[in-house]
C-alpha cells in the first residue's frame, strides 16, 4: 500500500478520535440549548471549573487558599490528605449540581420571559465571572490531572497495523478511552431522555416551554437538571482535555472547538454533536495533512469554521438541527 495512503488512514483515525473530544464539549452546549434555547457561552468555563474542582478535591487543596492567606496572613494550601479519584469525581459532580442550582436561582429565574439574546448575554457574564472565580478558588497554576487513564501510543494497534501494512498506526490510549466514554455518555443521555419521567419532561420543555408549564412541569427543576447534566458533561470533557494538558484556565478555549461542531451538527441534536465532531475532526486533520504543508500549516484553527460556514449556506439548521419555520 502506498505510504501516503497509510499516513492518510492514520490521520483519519486520529481525526475521528479528536472529533470525539470536540463532541464531548459540544454536547454540553446542545443539552442546554435544547432544553432552554440558551446558547451557553460559559460552557467552556464550566469545563475549567469542573476539572479544577476535581483536581482540587483529589489533591486536598484548600479552596480560596490564596485569598485566605492574603487576608489573614496565613500560609495554608492543602488539608494534608488526598481523596480517591472516584470520590473526587462524585464531589466535583455534586459541585456542578450546586453551580447549576446557583445559576438557576440567581440568574435564569430572573430572566424568564426575556428575549434569547438577554439570556445569551447573561451567559457571557457568567463566563467572565467564572473566569475570575475559578482561579480565585483553586489558583492559577497548571494543575496536574491524574485519574488513572492510560496515555500514549496503543501498542496493540501499533503492532497489529505494523503486521498488516509495515507501518504502525499511532492511536492515543486516552483518545480510545474518550471514545468509549463518549459512547456511554450519549447512550445514557438518550436512555434518560426516552425512558425516564424527568427525561420526558425535559423533552417537553424543549418542545414548548408554555405547554410544558401548563401540564405541571416545573421549568425551574428542569433547568437545574439540564444545567447539572451539562455540568457533568463538562466534567467528563475536562477530565479528557485536562489529562492532556493539565488543568488551567485556557482549557476554556476548547469551547472554540465546539462552535463549528454545533454549526455543523445542529444546536439541538445529541447525535448531531457526535457526527459533527467526527466530521470536523477528520476534516481538519485530513486538510492539514494534505493541504497544510502547501499553505504554511496550522490550518486546524480556521478550517473547521470554513467547513461549518459552507454547511450553513446549504443547511442553516445544521445536519441534524430542527428546521425553523416561522409563519408570517
Amino acid at each position: 500500500m502506498p505510504e501516503q495512503l497509510l499516513f492518510a488512514m492514520e490521520v483519519t483515525l486520529n481525526g475521528l478520535m479528536a472529533g470525539v473530544l470536540y463532541a464531548l464539549v459540544a454536547l454540553g452546549f446542545v443539552l442546554i440549548f435544547k432544553a432552554s434555547g440558551i446558547f451557553n457561552f460559559a460552557q467552556g468555563m464550566l469545563v475549567v471549573f469542573a476539572a479544577m474542582t476535581l483536581v482540587g478535591v483529589q489533591t486536598g487543596q484548600i479552596p480560596f487558599a490564596h485569598l485566605i492567606n492574603t487576608i489573614f496572613g496565613t500560609k495554608i494550601h492543602h488539608f494534608g490528605w488526598t481523596v480517591p479519584t472516584i470520590i473526587a469525581i462524585i464531589v466535583a459532580g455534586a459541585a456542578m449540581v450546586l453551580v447549576a442550582w446557583i445559576i438557576e436561582k440567581y440568574i435564569l429565574q430572573h430572566l424568564i420571559g426575556q428575549p434569547d439574546i438577554i439570556l445569551f448575554m447573561a451567559t457571557i457574564g457568567m463566563w467572565y465571572f467564572m473566569h475570575g472565580f475559578a482561579p480565585l478558588m483553586w489558583g492559577s497554576e497548571v494543575m496536574k490531572l491524574d485519574v488513572g487513564l492510560a496515555q500514549g501510543i496503543n501498542e496493540t494497534i501499533d503492532t497489529t497495523t505494523y503486521g498488516w501494512f509495515g507501518y504502525g498506526f499511532f492511536i492515543d490510549n486516552l483518545d480510545i478511552v474518550a471514545a468509549i466514554v463518549a459512547a456511554l455518555l450519549v447512550t445514557a443521555l438518550v436512555l434518560f431522555s426516552q425512558y425516564t419521567k424527568q427525561g420526558r419532561a425535559l423533552r417537553a420543555v424543549a418542545d414548548d416551554h408554555s405547554a410544558a408549564l401548563s401540564v405541571g412541569i416545573s421549568l425551574r427543576f428542569i433547568w437545574v437538571l439540564v444545567w447539572s447534566i451539562a455540568g457533568f458533561v463538562a466534567l467528563v470533557a475536562g477530565i479528557m482535555w485536562g489529562s492532556k494538558s493539565g488543568v488551567q484556565i485556557s482549557l476554556a478555549e476548547v469551547a472554540l472547538k465546539a462552535l463549528p461542531v454545533l454549526m455543523l451538527g445542529g444546536f439541538t441534536s445529541i447525535p448531531g454533536a457526535i457526527i459533527g465532531g467526527l466530521i470536523i475532526g477528520v476534516g481538519e486533520q485530513l486538510f492539514e495533512f494534505a493541504i497544510g504543508p502547501l499553505v504554511g500549516g496550522a490550518t486546524q484553527a480556521w478550517f473547521a469554521y470554513v467547513l461549518a460556514l459552507v454547511f450553513l449556506i446549504f443547511r442553516p439548521q445544521g445536519l441534524f438541527g430542527e428546521k425553523i419555520i416561522e409563519r408570517v
Binding site: F7, K75, H77, E141, K244, Q285, G297
Partner: protein, 428 residues
C-alpha cells in the same frame, strides 16, 4: 471645624497613600490572570521580591527606596499599552513589559518619552542594535541567540557535523514563534541540516496533526518555541509518540516546571535553553527567604522561589537594579531620571566578581553593554528536566552563540526599521 479636620486627614492620608516621588519606580506590567497566568505570576513575584529584598536589606538602591507598582495586562497588548500610559507619570525609570506584542507597541512610545525598555529574552530581537534602538535593551540574550545556542548544542552532540540531519522547528504561529526561522535557516545553510517548520495556532490545545507529522518525518531533533498551554500539550504529545525527550529542546519560555509536570515521568530528559541559573542554590535566595518571604513581604506565597520563571523575574530585577546603581554613579545623584537610567543600562557591566557580591555567582554570564550592543553576549546554557527529582539541572555552561550569522541579521532588520522610521544612528 469638622470639615477642616476631615480635609486635613484626607490630605494626610493621600500623602501617605501616594507613592513617594523620590522612590525609584520600576512598574511591573504583570499578568496574574488569563491563560498565561501560570508563567506570569512567578515572574512578577520574582521581579517584585528582588526589589523588596533590596529595600529591606539595603534600604533600596543608593539609599533610595524602590517601588514596583503592578499593572495587570493579562498578556494583552492593548491593556499593556494602557498600563504603560497609566504608570509612566509615576516617575517610571524603565519598563519590562514581559510581552513581545506589548514591547513592539511601546518601542516608539517609550523612545519618545525617553524611558528605556528592558526586554530580556523576548521582544524585538534586532533591538540588540543600540545604534538604532536607543531606548531598548534586550541583554543578555535574544531569540536568535537561542536558535543558535540550540544548534550549537546539537552540533556538540553530533561531533560538530549536522550534514543530512533533520531538524524540526515546532512553533507558535505568530511573531514570537516565527522569530528563530531566519536564524535557523541561515544556520541550516551553514551546517547542512534540513529544517522543517511546523506551526501551531493559538492556543495549541490540539496538536495531533503536528505530532503525527513529526512521527512520520522522524526528525533527529525538535526545537520548540511555545508558550502557555501549548507547552504542556507538546511535551505530552512528544511523550505519547515516544519521541526521545533528550532530542526535544525548547526555548526558555517553554522550559518551566509547570510545562513539564503534567506529563509526569515521561517528561524526563526534556531540555530547554536558559540565559540564567536554575534552582535556589545561590546565596541570594537565602536573603530573599530571610528578608522577604519569612518577613511576610513576598509578592506571592513564597512557593515559587527558585522556580525557573521566578528566577527569571529575579534576574531581570537585578539587572535593572544594577543599571540604576550605575546611573547613580555616572550622574552623581541618587534620585535618577529615566534618561539617566537609560545611560545606566547602556554602561552596565556585569562581572563574575559583581555576581558573586550579589550572591548570584554563576547565575548568569559576565558581559558589558555598549552604545552599539544592547543585546549582551547572547550566552545560553541548556537545562534538562528530571521528573523523579522534580527539578531542572544545567547540563552545559553559558555558551556563546554564532554571531557571525546573527549579527548580519540584526543589522539588516534594524537597518530596515531605521529606514522606515527615519532614525539616525546614535553611536559615534
Amino acid at each position: 471645624m469638622t470639615f477642616k479636620r476631615v480635609a486635613a486627614a484626607s490630605v494626610a492620608a493621600l500623602m501617605v497613600g501616594s507613592p513617594v516621588m523620590a522612590d525609584l519606580v520600576f512598574p511591573s506590567l504583570s499578568y496574574r490572570t488569563g491563560p498565561f497566568a501560570a508563567g506570569g505570576i512567578p515572574y512578577a513575584d520574582g521581579f517584585a521580591d528582588y526589589f523588596t529584598m533590596l529595600n529591606e536589606r539595603d534600604g533600596g538602591i543608593g539609599g533610595v527606596a524602590v517601588s514596583v507598582p503592578e499593572c495587570e495586562t493579562a498578556y494583552n497588548t492593548e491593556k499593556g499599552v494602557e498600563c504603560y500610559e497609566s504608570t509612566k507619570g509615576m516617575g517610571a525609570l524603565a519598563y519590562n513589559p514581559l510581552s513581545t506584542g506589548i514591547t513592539y507597541q511601546l518601542i516608539p512610545k517609550a523612545t519618545a518619552d525617553d524611558i528605556p525598555l528592558y526586554t530580556p529574552g523576548y521582544g524585538r530581537t534586532s533591538a540588540a542594535n543600540g545604534n538604532v534602538f536607543s531606548h531598548v535593551f534586550n541583554f543578555p540574550a535574544n531569540y536568535w541567540n537561542g536558535a543558535s545556542a540550540a544548534i550549537n548544542h546539537v552540533l556538540e552532540l553530533n561531533g560538530g557535523d549536522l550534514k543530512g540531519k533533520k531538524i524540526v522547528l515546532l512553533h507558535f504561529n505568530g511573531a514570537y514563534g516565527k522569530e528563530p526561522i531566519p536564524t535557523l535557516t541561515k544556520l541550516g545553510e551553514k551546517h547542512g541540516y534540513d529544517l522543517t517548520t511546523i506551526p501551531i495556532d493559538y492556543p495549541g490545545q490540539e496538536q495531533k496533526a503536528q505530532w503525527l507529522q513529526i512521527r512520520r518525518e522522524k526528525p533527529d531533533y525538535v526545537l520548540f518555541w511555545g508558550w502557555g498551554v501549548m507547552n504542556q500539550v507538546a511535551i505530552q504529545e512528544a511523550a505519547n509518540i515516544r519521541y526521545p525527550m533528550d532530542q526535544f529542546i525548547g526555548v526558555w519560555w517553554s522550559g518551566a516546571e509547570h510545562d513539564v509536570k503534567p506529563a509526569g515521568d515521561k517528561a524526563t530528559g526534556y531540555k530547554a535553553m536558559t540565559f540564567h541559573g536554575v534552582g535556589s542554590d545561590y546565596p541570594v535566595f537565602g536573603d530573599l527567604q530571610k528578608y522577604v518571604v519569612d518577613a511576610g513581604k513576598a509578592a506571592g506565597d513564597g512557593s515559587n522561589v527558585g522556580t525557573v520563571i521566578y528566577n527569571r523575574g529575579v534576574y531581570a530585577a537585578m539587572m535593572l537594579a544594577e543599571a540604576a546603581k550605575k546611573a547613580q554613579e555616572i550622574h552623581g545623584v541618587a534620585d535618577i531620571t529615566s534618561a539617566q537610567m537609560r545611560d545606566g543600562l547602556e554602561q552596565l557591566e556585569i562581572t563574575n566578581a559583581r555576581m558573586a557580591e550579589l550572591g548570584m555567582e554563576g547565575f548568569g554570564p559576565e558581559f558589558k553593554v555598549s552604545c552599539a550592543n544592547h543585546g549582551g553576549p547572547g550566552a545560553i546554557a541548556i537545562q534538562q528536566w528530571d521528573a523523579a527529582a522534580g527539578k531542572w539541572s544545567l547540563i552545559s555552561d553559558f555558551g556563546a552563540s554564532d554571531m557571525e550569522v546573527i549579527q548580519p541579521l540584526i543589522d539588516a532588520d534594524s537597518a530596515a526599521y531605521a529606514a522606515e522610521n527615519n532614525i539616525e544612528p546614535q553611536c559615534n
